[in-house]
Symmetry: C2
Subunit: 118 residues, 2 copies
């Protein structure tokens, strides 16, 4: 259980880290809109091909982007499901917050005594 939880945290680390760079977010936007070869992407930025290639690799390791081979070029595509899974991590955080509110409400109007606390 701690095992799978760690994996989940590893994925979260990788995804948020991948998103924490404006160039990578821009690349992600482009490949969500449609397939692009790495060199086509590289042409859009003021940095070397190798740098862009690394950014795509980071997005790929995070699962936000998938690549397929077509002849000599590698076509990158954005994975919406992965983006949504990041969204649900945030939703989970909001749920924790709602718990706080619920607890504050309890102070104002305590729930019916279903169970004695202590």
């Amino acid at each position: 259980m701690t095992d799978t939880a760690d994996q989940h945290e590893d994925r979260a680390d990788a995804m948020f880290h991948a998103l924490a760079d404006r160039t990578r977010r821009d690349i992600l936007r482009r490949v969500l809109a449609g397939e692009h070869s790495v060199s086509a992407l590289a042409a859009s930025y003021d940095m070397t091909f190798a740098a862009v290639q690394k950014h795509v690799a980071v997005l790929e390791r995070a699962g936000l982007v998938t690549k397929r081979r077509s002849g000599r070029e590698a076509l990158a595509s954005g994975d919406v499901e992965a983006v949504r899974s990041v969204g649900s991590m945030l939703t989970e955080l909001e749920t924790v917050w709602r718990g706080r509110i619920a607890r504050i409400d309890d102070l104002i109007a305590p729930p019916p005594p279903t169970e004695r606390n202590q």
Copy 2:
């Protein structure tokens, strides 16, 4: 316009970076559930007070956490609105993706010729 866009990207960088660390996500969960002093938070982790204090500072700079002073302690609180604003950045990405789908639909059933392309 590029000016405000840059600020937006700066905020996105800071927020995603703040979230890209499991300790910081855990701290955020706790302070979303309720106020905690920095030393109370520090007691939960196997690292020095200074390290935790830095993590809280990162979350604070990103706007995900606010602090208020109460006597000698600093009470940290999670900001749900900030968490939601990260969520809307992701929603924006999903919107880009829907554009891709719309375009694919166009190939199958082209829209009425309102304007000539080229």
